[in-house]
Symmetry: C2
Subunit: 477 residues, 2 copies
């Protein structure tokens, strides 16, 4: 028995694969050094033997481990291993790798090979890959499905990746509500192996309408002569295909589910959602959002080309450039004031920067509140009041401290007072923008965290400069 810690088998695989790849590199370099007919037969033989060894090492790996190995390698190394994979394993790897790697593998593989890789996949795997595969490949690969599976595939694609319908699986095991436990067990034995993550059988009537579910453990623990109806639990969470997958994921967490049935509008059983699919969905969503928040248009492979990486970052840079330009024009309007008191130029970034940071703290609190549904009608005014009070307190305290520094450095008490005033104003503004922007984005159905930080920084920069230079113009010069 392999009493392995989870990462050990992966580590071992990686060590072996890296060694074989390194050997391949050395052998290739050696054979290339020698010219035409003088090529060393022995070395060619070694080369071939090395590839056979690589073939034997990578094909039996768990597809998830192999996918992890793929992520860690440079594009040319990925391709070398890819060529050693058998069709079935290629299909499994395509399911497990990140979308950036998947795209590059699909790009470099011919249609016939792609069809060989995907033609053993079942309907929900194909649905998962559908957008990435060329239409011709998808059509050929889905030819091996039966009519029901094919129509399931089309439906599932229509629901979209972020709905329950897009992440559900068609593999449901059900029993009829008029069966006994014994009937159900016989039925199961005839059927053979159950799909992974089957913790319950769904119970349906003659018209496939869902009646409830029977946990596997109840089947094990009950007298087999009882009717299945006696151990059917009827208060399960039931999902609909057009619900958001994110909400379904929350239900899985809240009620500790392993699987849940999906039904259509007439309560007929059409699929199920598993905790595995939910975890994949959660991770994917989190990664996607992390990248988007940093302003990357889409998932970017670390080993993507310079040109592709640069372009992936342009839309954000462009927005940033525009907002920075506007903030710069605010300063430009006060050039006369700065000319008279150049200390203002040195101090103004402090006001802008502290405003941006406190605003982002407010945004974080608001986003957490949105996730917990804490922000309802009457609570919003409380929230605004509180964040403004926090800003006032922090503005007086930290603004006062910075004002003191300004006074001491430039020996002008009035400059300190202007500094403190500008900081209080900018922190109050930051609180209001930090509340308003995520709420507005949420109402528009956008990710509140992504756009919020750009808009917020834009406001706190521009207004920070404006408050500080404006007050200085009024009271100092």
């Amino acid at each position: 028995m392999s009493l392995a810690a989870p990462d050990h088998r992966l580590e071992q695989a990686l060590v072996d694969v890296t060694r074989l790849l390194e050997k391949h590199r050395v052998l290739t370099a050696l054979t290339h050094r020698q010219e035409g007919p003088k090529r060393d037969l022995l070395e060619q033989l070694q080369q071939r033997q090395n590839l056979t060894e690589l073939h034997a090492r990578v094909n039996p790996l768990h597809p998830a481990d192999l996918a992890h190995v793929f992520e860690m390698l440079m594009p040319d190394e990925r391709l070398l291993i890819w060529q050693q994979l058998e069709g079935r394993q290629r299909g499994e790897v395509l399911l497990e790798v990140s979308s950036a790697v998947r795209e590059s593998l699909i790009e470099t593989t011919g249609h016939d090979d792609l069809i060989a890789a995907t033609s053993h996949l079942d309907a929900d795997d194909l649905a998962y890959l559908a957008d990435a595969l060329p239409e011709e490949v998808l059509r050929s690969a889905s030819r091996q499905l039966d009519a029901g599976e094919r129509s399931w595939l089309d439906q599932s694609r229509a629901y979209g990746k972020n709905s329950v319908g897009g992440v559900m699986s068609p593999e449901v095991v059900f029993i009829r509500d008029d069966q006994t436990v014994d009937d159900a067990l016989v039925h199961l034995r005839q059927r053979g192996e159950l799909p992974p993550q089957t913790d319950r059988l769904f119970v349906v009537d003659a018209r496939n309408v869902l009646k409830g579910s029977v946990p596997l453990q109840a089947l094990l623990l009950t007298d087999p002569r009882q009717p299945a109806a006696a151990i059917t639990s009827t208060d399960d969470v039931v999902l609909r295909p057009d619900e958001e997958a994110e909400e379904a994921a929350q239900a899985f967490e809240r009620y500790n589910l392993v699987s849940a049935p999906v039904v259509d509008e007439r309560n007929k059983l059409i699929g199920r959602l598993t905790v595995e699919a939910v975890m994949d969905f959660n991770r994917h969503l989190a990664e996607q959002r992390a990248l988007e928040r940093a302003g990357l248009r889409k998932e970017e492979d670390l080993f993507a080309s310079t040109w592709a990486s640069a372009r992936n970052r342009w839309p954000w840079l462009c927005v940033n450039m525009v907002t920075a330009f506007i903030a710069s024009r605010v300063i430009g309007a006060f050039e006369g004031t700065i000319q008279e008191l150049v200390a203002l130029a040195a101090l103004m970034p402090i006001v802008a920067s502290v405003g941006g940071n406190t605003g982002n703290q407010t945004v974080a609190v608001v986003i957490r509140g949105l996730a917990l549904d804490q922000i309802q009608g009457q609570h919003t005014s409380y929230l605004i009041y509180k964040e403004l009070m926090v800003s006032l307190l922090n503005g007086l305290m930290w603004g006062g401290l910075m004002g003191l520094f300004a006074w001491l450095i430039y020996d002008r008490p009035a400059l300190g007072a202007v500094m403190m005033g500008a900081m209080v104003l900018n922190l109050l503004l930051a609180a209001m923008v930090g509340i308003a922007v995520p709420l507005a984005l949420e109402r528009l159905g956008r990710d509140p965290a992504q756009g919020a930080s750009v808009l917020l920084t834009f406001a706190t920069d521009s207004c920070g400069f404006f408050f500080f230079l404006g007050l200085a113009k009024l009271f100092l010069v």
Copy 2:
């Protein structure tokens, strides 16, 4: 059967609870308006009846739903419901609410009530609450555990919240490797209900050494006369209590696990980890990090007091203040230059801001690479090369564009050239810092995303000002 979409029962509960709370508020206002003996008996009665109704509505709720309701209410409303809860339900709610709400509930509840709330909890629930409960309460509550459970509780606390030992559960169902399937089934029926998320029974020998596991579905599908050993799977993922919970969570995702055994250094079975615990851990970690990245010291309740919220944000503000102050002193060193050409003051924030944004994009790519183990020895130099090339490309392109604007606005071509030069330099610096900082933080065992953005912005601000004003001093004035 309740064919409810997951959120409907929660919504209904919330509507009802809100209505009852509103009624309570109105009735309280009414009785308070009338003086001493004139208090209306009828209204007092209504008040009491209303609370009874609230009691009857909240106690049967699923603790996870009730916890969600708690999160959404103001502190005084929470307290009112809390007072209506029975001891057992209070304990369950404490397990489900966020740590901020948990703290406030524990603070406002007497020790005796806390003991009543927690004394039915089992060892792993108590382990989860241990740090939040007063020591005296924990001691009383753990008195009902047997000696084995108590020592388990102590051990689990010693492992810490982020290790497998800290999130595992002691509820393991095991069979002996010399039993037949039929023996195992008899054993299970005697035992009665299995713990939630039991998808497999663990197989141990006479000395409790783990031999493998039997999936429930194999028990259902196999001829009962077979020895258990025949259907024991031996290539399971096996965890150790001192491993990081985050790594175990990755193994759950990778291999689609529902539960996994935890063994000590002699391979003896000491507990198990469930996908439920993994999902809770993942969510908690993600929330924690999101708040930390925005510079909140710890989880902050939306309804926490102004003073508590303000203090929660100070450490970060303090750091921010120091870095902003240093950047300001960099500008201060060039006051003479700015005096001569005041346009510099207006343009310098653009250089700093664009540098910060591109650097954060690099940080996002590096953090994703770290999560995927993509950044190994020989890849680091490739990564550095590539990010520098991306920066050079973006710097020339967008820096050129900004330079053009500067030239047009101020009618000085040399100013445009200085602008472009400073942007190229600052973007190159941003790329290097954006790679170095997360790698260094990762090596120090810190969350690479949190500290990275402060340090990065500090570098790109200070150096952005330095590059731009320095070049201007050399070539313009």
